[in-house]
């Protein structure tokens, strides 16, 4: 054997080892990335679980007119301003008659949410004839109680589960549980309420509606403009400097940081045009400027995929250039364009930074009714809640993220479905 072959033979084992090592690096890189993704999703879903439960406590309240501080036949205004928290506190004292000390009483009262008084008010407003009777009703419990009963099965033996509830409070909860006066069910409040300082009363409805308004504006602005721009660049634009400038611009805009769009919105729409702050109108316009490049680029790809024979056939039958595009090319490219639009809108739905700049970061309790009402958006709500000190808000934040991700998954699934179902390969 020649010496070259020997050298090669001798090094082969080492080279094969290097080969499999290199391959392994690739697998490791992919596994690290994917396991991080899985870890992120699982940990957030896990943390969100308590937020989907709502715990209620059953109390027998004495709706004596005197205790409520209203007359014998009160009008609606009197009912609205009656002393409900006093009645609830009385019911709690009756439940646990041996609690005497001031501090202990305070701890006892904190088991029921401050929102319970509004629950009681709505209950009486529905049927004022209950005044003067004794009623057994379910009232919202405090977030700490909810967190604890959803986390452990036996509240007297909690191990190292973090909680702010004292041993005495847990004893009361245990008593209530044994008398079947605690129930835990699906948290409808979370989907039907606006923001609140109290975790057990806070919901995402205002933020969801706000996001819907923003997305509506984004769609109405960006879809026609982006499709028109794509049609121009793909079908009509002459190859000259101006077209080149437009193309370079679109590519650059796609990579401009989103916060810079927020600065644009602040300087131009709010300070120059004096449009209302915190409104979905401006949020939508800013986000549509941001999503324009995405939709333009994918619409151009969809238009380009329509074969020239279609255009030639239409032109051969006497269609004008505009008719060729609007009657033949555009309908054929529509599935691709819609796919790109949905992906662009999904991006816009998750965007936070530009909305912070234009003031959509307010504490919104009421559901926004139009595109000029002050509103917030789902990701901004996540940002706001993530700053709150109460532990229950961690669960709320995670739950809001789960809802947000759910919407993104649905949107992307629709996009994939559209592409698979309607896109034609020529």
């Amino acid at each position: 054997m020649s010496s070259t072959t020997e050298i090669v033979q001798a090094s082969l084992a080492r080279r094969y080892k290097a080969e499999s090592r290199f391959r392994l690096y690739g697998i490791v890189a992919i596994s690290i990335s994917l396991s991080f993704l899985a870890f992120l999703l699982i940990s957030i879903t896990y943390k969100s679980i308590p937020a989907f439960y709502e715990t209620q406590v059953q109390l027998t309240v004495n709706l004596d007119a005197e205790k409520l501080g209203v007359g014998a036949s009160p009008d609606i205004k009197a009912i609205k301003t009656a002393n409900y928290s006093g009645v609830i506190k009385g019911a709690l004292r009756e439940q646990f008659p041996d609690v005497k000390k001031r501090k202990a009483k305070k701890e006892l009262y904190s088991l029921v949410s401050v929102g319970a008084q509004y629950q009681l008010r709505d209950f009486i407003l529905e049927d004022p004839s209950v005044i003067g009777t004794e009623q057994t009703i379910w009232l919202i419990a405090d977030d700490e109680l909810n967190g604890l009963v959803t986390a452990v099965s036996d509240v007297t033996d909690i191990g190292d589960t973090p909680t702010r509830l004292s041993e005495q409070q847990r004893g009361w909860i245990n008593t209530l549980q044994q008398q079947d006066q605690v129930k835990t069910g699906f948290n409808y409040t979370f989907f039907s309420a606006g923001d609140s300082r109290e975790p057990e009363l806070a919901g995402i409805k205002a933020a969801l509606i706000g996001s819907a308004w923003v997305l509506l504006v984004t769609f109405l602005v960006s879809f026609p403009v982006a499709v028109a721009a794509a049609i121009y660049l793909e079908e009509f634009a002459p190859t000259n400097r101006w077209t080149d400038v437009i193309e370079v611009n679109i590519n650059n805009l796609a990579a401009v940081p989103s916060i810079v769009f927020g600065l644009l919105g602040l300087a131009v729409f709010i300070n120059f045009f004096a449009l209302p702050r915190s409104a979905p109108l401006i949020g939508g316009i800013v986000l549509s400027l941001m999503t324009l490049p995405t939709i333009i680029i994918s619409s151009r790809a969809a238009l380009k995929a329509v074969p020239p024979s279609i255009r030639e056939a239409a032109q051969g039958l006497g269609a004008s250039k505009v008719q060729v595009v609007f009657h033949h090319v555009l309908p054929l490219a529509m599935p691709g364009i819609l796919t790109g639009t949905i992906i662009g809108l999904a991006q816009a739905l998750g965007e936070t930074a530009p909305l912070l700049m234009i003031g959509m970061v307010a504490f919104i309790v009421d559901i926004p009714q139009s595109i000029v009402d002050p509103a917030t958006a789902l990701p901004v709500q996540v940002f706001l809640w993530s700053d709150s000190p109460e532990r229950a808000f961690v669960a709320k934040t995670s739950a809001a993220i789960v809802v947000l991700l759910g919407f993104l998954v649905v949107m992307n699934a629709v996009a994939v479905f559209l592409r698979k179902r309607f896109e034609r390969r020529w």
């Binding site: 992120l40 650059n252 940081p257 916060i259 045009f273 936070t352």
Partner: protein
């Protein structure tokens, strides 16, 4: 009439004019004796008349709504009480805002001074007057444009040409919005930045090492002189971006190489979309995750090996950001690696190289320009990323290279400066725009270089 009603009326009138002109085209062919010799389709005459009906009216409506608030508040300030006027422009503005707020409020409290009640009434009467005036002018404009439109449709047989050229103008305008956006961004950040640099020198801004944007509310306040040296922000941004790239480049690049060279097409078609999910998750989610899970975990790990890790360490924000930008590296790198011609690989195999040797010595150098630009794009993404650092990095501007300490970044400062209640003209708010300008210029440069490199690279092989 309200804005919505006006819009609805314009819409209905346009539909009516479309239907009318289209039918007339069927009936009398607009002057042509023979219907077959008509130049355009009946619908084109309909579009032409509808355009005449809608466009002037819409233009009037929109420009009215843009100009109206300014005029009304001008008229309101001219009638402001003399003592308010004497206090200067800001006081008048505040007074106006109060009146606007009170007028929009549901209930007006009884104990307002008489001049305010009068101002509210004046505002309301101004608004009513504006509405009536708008309705009158609008009906005049619609009537006139319908008359002109009918004459035009009657005299112009070639409706299609006009409608289509209008459509083309519309397309050009839409395509130019991208340029308008860029111009808008440049002008808005540049204009405000120039005003900032009149108060704080440009050199002080980019060479100063102390950042504490506290401007005085009263002039005699202690520590009233804010200092705007942006170096700590730049180093903080660079530190976090560098950590992100240290995480993202090896992971992204090795994933791309494996997917492009080793993986079966089935594995590739499942793993690639999975990796891209990482880029689709909203950044606020990463921020929450970094602040709540990664940072505490790093802190307790650091304590267990005797290191003091800040709870808002640059490391936590950087690592999470790095995970987020993996797909930016891997997708583009994957594309450029696949674009390397198969003949080059075949030649290398023919000389007896193993697959990894081929990748390292042939494919990688050939794809290097594309890979570099994918890294540049990822870097620009990392520099401009906002929510992760806002939630997971600190606020204190510290000049340090220690990844375990808390640093702040350009984007964090923009957000903090602009989300509080601020007067718009203070140096504090203007500083945010100056930072925005720096951010825009930096990312623009990175993008331009990256896109240019990729373009040249593509041309080389295609």
């Amino acid at each position: 009439m309200s804005l919505n009603t006006l819009f609805l009326i314009i819409l209905l009138l346009s539909i009516a004019s479309y239907v009318y002109a289209r039918r007339r085209a069927f009936v009398n062919a607009f002057g042509q004796t023979d219907n077959k010799r008509r130049h355009s389709l009946p619908a084109h005459y309909g579009y032409l008349l509808a355009m005449w009906c809608a466009l002037p009216a819409l233009a009037l409506l929109i420009s009215w709504k843009l100009i109206e608030p300014g005029i009304i508040s001008n008229m309101l300030s001219s009638s402001a009480p003399t003592e308010v006027k004497a206090a200067g422009e800001t006081a008048v503005g505040l007074y106006n805002n109060e009146i606007f707020y009170l007028a929009d409020a549901d209930s007006i409290s009884q104990d307002l001074p008489a001049h305010k009640t009068a101002a509210i009434q004046r505002l309301q009467s101004l608004r009513t007057a504006s509405k009536i005036l708008l309705t009158l002018i609008l009906s005049g404009v619609i009537g006139l444009s319908l008359l002109l439109g009918l004459r035009h449709v009657n005299r112009e047989p070639r409706a299609r040409v006009i409608v289509e050229s209008f459509i083309q103008v519309f397309l050009v305008v839409c395509a130019s919005i991208a340029i308008l956006t860029t111009i808008g961004i440049v002008l808005s950040v540049l204009f405000e930045s120039l005003r900032f640099f009149q108060q704080v020198g440009f050199i002080d801004f980019i060479t100063g090492t102390s950042w504490s944007p506290q401007t005085a509310i009263r002039s005699d306040q202690v520590g009233s002189s804010g200092s705007f040296g942006a170096i700590p922000l730049f180093t903080g941004t660079l530190l976090i971006s560098a950590i992100a790239l240290i995480v993202a480049v090896p992971l992204g690049l090795m994933s791309a190489i494996y997917l492009a060279e080793y993986a079966s097409s089935r594995a590739r078609s499942t793993i690639k979309p999975l990796l891209e999910i990482l880029a689709g998750i909203p950044t606020v989610v990463y921020g929450f995750f970094a602040a709540l899970t990664v940072a505490p975990a790093m802190r307790s790990f650091g304590q267990s090996i005797g290191l003091s890790v800040s709870s808002e360490s640059a490391l936590a924000a950087g690592v999470v950001m790095g995970i987020m930008i993996i797909p930016f590296v891997s997708s583009l790198s994957d594309d450029v690696i696949t674009a390397v011609p198969q003949s080059m690989r075949d030649a290398s195999f023919g000389l007896g190289a193993t697959q990894s040797e081929t990748i390292r010595k042939v494919v990688f150098p050939a794809a290097l320009p594309g890979i570099v630009s994918s890294v540049l794009l990822a870097a620009s993404r990392a520099i401009g990323e906002t929510m992760i650092v806002v939630m997971a990095a600190g606020l204190a501007a510290k000049l340090t290279a220690n990844p375990l300490e808390a640093v702040t970044t350009v984007t964090v400062q923009i957000v903090t400066l602009l989300t509080g209640d601020q007067e718009f003209d203070s140096a504090k708010t203007l500083a945010a725009f100056a930072l925005g300008l720096m951010l825009f210029v930096t990312t623009l440069l990175l993008n331009v270089i990256a896109l240019y490199t990729v373009r040249r690279y593509r041309e080389q092989y295609e």
